[in-house]
Amino acid sequence: MKSLIKKLAETAGPSGREDQIRALIRSEIEPYSQEIQTDSLGNLIARKGEKSKDGVRIMLSAHMDEIGVIATHVDQNGFVRFTGIGMVYPKYCLGARVRFLNGTQGVINSEHTSDAKEQIPLEKMFIDVGVNKAAECPVKPGDMAVFDGPFIDLGHKVIAKSLDNRLGIAILVELIKKIDLTPNEIYFVFTVQEEMRKSGATTAAYAVQPDIGIVVDVTATGDTPDSIRMDVGLGKGPAIKISDQGMISDQRIVKWMKDTAKKSGIPYQLEILEKGSTDAMVIQLSRAGVPSGVVSIPCRYIHSPSEMVNFQDLQQSFELTHALISNPVSLK
């Protein structure tokens, strides 16, 4: 799975322009799909499995998009002004390397401030692509870029950009390849625009009309020096989401996930995320409502150019999700 993650992380897919990452995913999963299509907003939807007597229709979902930046103006000296696509933290941008979808590379820096305490906003930053005037600049307003940086394998842990949510994507890709016998009809949904307003999951859930929704996404940890209050950490297994800022997981799904983990001998943590949400938030509210939950992969430094995951947590998240979708769903 490491080489798959490397390939996925080194491909670009900012919200709204997911075509490159979608093409890569499609090439991986098409031979294993009974049905596959791209919908009108760009979601990739693949089906595997037929609904048997004790089976249900599951929407198993991971978002393809990552946060990025979009050029707003090229000034007379060729510096590119920009704004964020999705939740882009200014503090993570200073000094960051970026790569535009057309291949242009550059570095983000800012106007000078004499106040050392000032939080420099994105409006005071710019991307330097190394040209001297506007006419030489290979970037124009509207062009999008993502953080740029190589995948680093530390052995037990891995560092890369966009582990949010290439990790979720990797799990779904491996699952559709490995899933053999299942009583369930599983829709593997690779959504667009989660980092913006979750429009992809909104419309995909409307179309798929699932009986249950399971999202695989990353979640923050509280195991770094003086961190936010967060009881999830690397190396303790997948996190079962109790709640986040946008939703409260269906209690029956939480219990089913805990029971499945125990039965399969997979360690797990319980997640309460005070800031942030996932596609499950909108799946839960689709049409007349869909019981939903999330398998969360603990991840450090989310939305920075260098996110970090414990590889064993990832493998165990895969095993848990595999066990969940391969067996009859029991919601009691």
Binding site: D39, L41, G42, T72, H73, I85, P141, G142, S199, T203
Partner: protein, 362 residues
């Protein structure tokens, strides 16, 4: 009886008749939730051209002009009828009312402005304390809305009560190539859509949505898109042109859009990332027909497309706006040529659009 289409080689234009219609629309009062006066003008204008028409549960006007071709795209074009304004919330007696803002208005823009209240356009003023009764500390702060009152004068013989809307009192005027009026956001979109409806390109099923309550959360468009079930959508709006030179002589890098550079095509705003296939189609059309255009800077702001694209199974969408200075104040300023080019762009772009556009994935 629908009129004949003009010959397909002519692009209809924005001229004197359309400016007079815009004046009527601009001077009409239709603060969010109270769009009746604007709706009446829309219905008068389009009733001879409709194949199907509905006024839905929230007051959106949904009007259809059927296609003359086989295998045509169902194209929803939305323009919102509502404007930003005020709502009276408490009668203080003496014909003075406490009020709240409806939609997004900078509270600093409000002091001392004249307004029209209710269906009969009863005139009033948003009163502030005269300067000689203020102290220097007070003059450093912006006056808060809760300290202001809408004052109707001596007698409330029109029985104005809580819940009535108030709109800015600006009367539309023109100065050479510039048009000035209140609520050009989005009466200019409404006027454009009326003109498009009268000269609907025969190759598409035109689903015109004159929407309500855009300014308070893109609400009308959400249900309009649900009913119309289009294949794609265009939101016609106006967008701020903050294109005056920066006061310190530095390059203005955050103008959003500029007057005189034509229709502003949206790549992304706060609510929508436009479908690139539709962007490319309209850019191609602009280039082929020598129509100037610009890209609106990404960042804040929303249009009806924000609600439309997320409806049902998803609707590929684009927003196109007429740039205007001083948005959400008493008077917006637009260039007639930008309006004319916006109409030309929408018309020519829709005249050769087909389901082929969506054969390749987004």
């Amino acid at each position: 009886m629908p009129t004949q289409h003009p010959s397909s080689t002519e692009i209809p234009t924005i001229g004197l008749e359309q400016i007079q219609l815009l004046e009527k629309l601009s001077n009409a009062c239709g603060v969010s939730g109270d769009e009746g006066e604007v709706r009446k003008i829309v219905l008068e204008q389009i009733q001879d051209y409709v194949d199907e028409i509905t006024i839905d549960a929230m007051g959106n006007v949904l009007a259809v002009r059927k296609s003359k071709a086989q295998d045509s795209l169902r194209v929803m074009v939305a323009a919102h009828m509502d404007e930003i304004g005020f709502m009276l919330v408490k009668d203080d007696g003496n014909c003075q009312f406490q009020f709240e803002i409806v939609g997004g208005i900078d509270p600093r823009q409000v002091v001392g402005k004249t307004v029209r209240v209710g269906k009969e356009h009863v005139p009033g003023v948003i009163g502030s304390r005269p300067i000689h009764l203020t102290d220097s500390e007070e003059r450093k702060r912006a006056v808060s809305i809760s300290d202001l009152r809408i004052d109707l004068g001596l007698k409330n013989d029109k029985n104005i009560e809580r819940g009535e809307r108030a709109a800015f009192a600006t009367k539309f005027f023109q100065n050479r190539g510039s048009l000035f009026g209140k609520a050009l956001d989005d009466r200019i979109g409404v006027a454009t859509l009326i003109e498009l409806f009268k000269h609907a390109p025969p190759n598409i099923e035109l689903l015109a949505a004159f929407t309500v309550q855009e300014e308070v959360g893109l609400r009308g468009a959400l249900i309009a898109a649900y009913s119309l079930k289009p294949d794609m959508a265009i939101a016609l709006d106006s967008t701020p042109a903050n294109d005056m030179p920066a006061w310190d002589g530095k390059e203005n890098t955050r103008y959003n859009s500029r007057l005189g550079e034509g229709p502003a095509i949206y790549i992304a705003d706060r609510s929508t990332i436009s479908d690139p296939r539709i962007i490319d189609h309209f850019v191609k059309s602009a280039n082929e027909n020598h129509i100037p255009y610009q890209f609106r800077q990404a960042g804040g702001g929303s249009t009806d497309a924000g609600s439309i694209h997320r409806q049902r199974k998803g609707i590929p969408s684009l927003s196109v706006s007429v740039p205007g200075r001083y948005a959400h104040t008493t008077t917006m300023l637009v260039r007639l040529e930008d309006w004319q080019n916006t109409f030309r762009l929408i018309y020519s772009g829709l005249s050769d659009i087909s389901p082929e556009l969506f054969k390749s994935p987004r």
